[in-house]
Every structure is written in C-alpha cells, then in structure tokens.
C-alpha cells in the first residue's frame, strides 16, 4: 500500500522533471527513470508480462532511439528554444483545468470503488500468451505488418537524398 504511493510520488516527480528541465539530454534520462517507475507499477499490479515488455521495449528500444537522435543533433542548453513566460503560465493553467475537470468527473463515479482482484494470475506470461494467440491472433499478425511498414517508412525518411549529394 505505502509502496504504491511512494512509487506514484516518484513517477510524478520524474515526469515533472522531464518537461521542466532545460537540457534535452537530462530530459531523456528523467524519462527513462519515469518508465522504470511505470515498470514497478506493472509489477505491483501483478502484470508481469507487461512489466517485462515495458522494460525491454520502452527503456531498451525507444529510449536508446531518443538518445541516439539527441546525440546526433548536438543540442544543449544554449540552443534550447523556450517559450515566453506568459505562454508557460497560460499552458499550466489550461493543464490544471483539464486535471480538475477529470478528477471532478471521477468523483461522480461510485461504481469504481471496487478494490478486489478476482483472478490475480491474468497478467502472467502463460495466461496472456494463451489469450494473445487465440482471441487476438489476427490483430497480432496485423501488428507485424504495421511494424514492417514503420521500418520501411523510417528508413525511407531518414535516408539522404541522392540527387542533392550528386
């Protein structure tokens, strides 16, 4: 119980640091820490398959991609474009209004007060694998086509234009 609130506090702190840090490299490092706390949340929810996938895909693949692109670009604190303070204050007020609206609407929900876990084993690899390869077989195969097309598109976009280089 106390562990959940501790990890939630860490999650909120790290995600605030992600958007308020000036240096983009530090932002990526804080984002990695945020995703690690998300992994802890998944373990606490007994969703072990998602914890492992989150650890490998987000912290392994996506964050390495972000770091690579950032280091290719040679950005630092001096070249970092910032908006004016007025726009920042307006943005924070708008975000705060969104949060107040969401939380206020959650207060109206009374059926969500349940705190029981019927089947604690649904998040295990064995159980999710059975569901994934029986009920969700077609979406699983279609997602492989999505990944293939994304790979082709990324290579095509990032490739240097031959006509410019001669």
């Amino acid at each position: 119980m106390i562990l959940f609130y501790l990890v939630s506090l860490l999650t909120i702190t790290f995600s605030l640091l992600v958007i308020f840090t000036k240096n983009p490299i530090y932002s990526v490092l804080y984002l990695i820490a945020t995703f690690f706390t998300f992994t802890i949340h998944y373990v606490l929810l007994n969703a072990q398959f998602l914890a492992v996938v989150n650890f490998i895909v987000y912290m392994g693949a996506i964050m390495v991609l972000f770091l690579f692109v950032l280091m290719l670009m040679n950005l630092n604190k001096e070249t970092e474009p910032m908006k004016s303070n007025l726009i920042k204050i307006i943005a924070v007020i708008a975000g705060g209004s969104l949060l107040v609206t969401l939380v206020g609407s959650f207060k109206q929900l009374s059926t969500l007060g349940i705190s029981t876990v019927d089947k604690p084993e649904i998040g295990l690899v064995e159980n999710l694998g059975k569901v994934l390869f029986s009920d969700f077989l077609l979406p699983f195969e279609v997602s492989s086509i999505l990944l293939l097309s994304a790979m082709v598109g990324a290579v095509l976009l990032a490739k240097k234009d031959k006509s410019e280089n001669g």
Partner: protein
C-alpha cells in the same frame, strides 16, 4: 507473489485513475510549454504511458485479460510511431538545422 496481490487489494481503483490523469496532464502541459520537437515527442510518450497504466489497472481490477493485450498492442504501436516520428525529426533537423517547431510554419498562410 501473494505479497504483491495483497498490496494492490488495498489500493482503491480511484487512486490509479487520479495518478493516470496527473501524468496525462503533465504530458499535455509538456506539449504546450516546450518548443523543442523531441521534448514534445517525449510528452506524447508520457501521455501514452498514462493510458497504458490505467488500462492495466482496469484489467487487473476487473479480472479481464483483454485490457493487458490492448496495452501490448499500444506498446507495439508506440514503437512504430517513435521510429517514424524520429525519422521525420531527423529530416527536419537536416533541412533547417534546428528542432524548433516555430520554424515549421510554411503550411501556414
């Protein structure tokens, strides 16, 4: 294992709702206050993760495995999205030598 299960049994589902909304809001504010395209992209990732956590919490509390399968598909989609998006950002940087989104106003008239 029983330790973890007994842990989540005492946390109300409403607290997961509130945590996810806070992180989603932080993502929205990040999109609004920054001009660096990569930071905006990372804020979008934060929003995606908030939704993932909420879906997992709903799935665990209602005992339905379909929610966690959806989260798996969202993660595959996020990987594809990051690959294409970062390729676009690299292209923009190569053409303008900057990742400031205020430069990208040529579609405005």
């Amino acid at each position: 294992m029983d330790n973890f299960v007994s842990t989540i049994q005492t946390v109300p589902l409403n607290h997961y709702l509130i945590l996810s909304s806070i992180i989603f809001t932080i993502g929205v504010i990040g999109v609004l206050i920054r001009r660096n395209a990569i930071i905006i992209f990372m804020s979008v990732e934060l929003m995606l993760n908030a939704v993932n956590l909420l879906l997992t919490a709903f799935s665990a509390y209602s005992g339905d495995a379909a929610g966690q399968v959806f989260v798996f598909f969202i993660m595959a989609l996020a990987a594809a999205e990051v690959a294409v998006g970062l390729a676009i950002i690299v292209m923009v940087y190569r053409n303008t030598s900057s990742v400031d989104i205020n430069i990208l106003n040529r579609l405005k008239w």
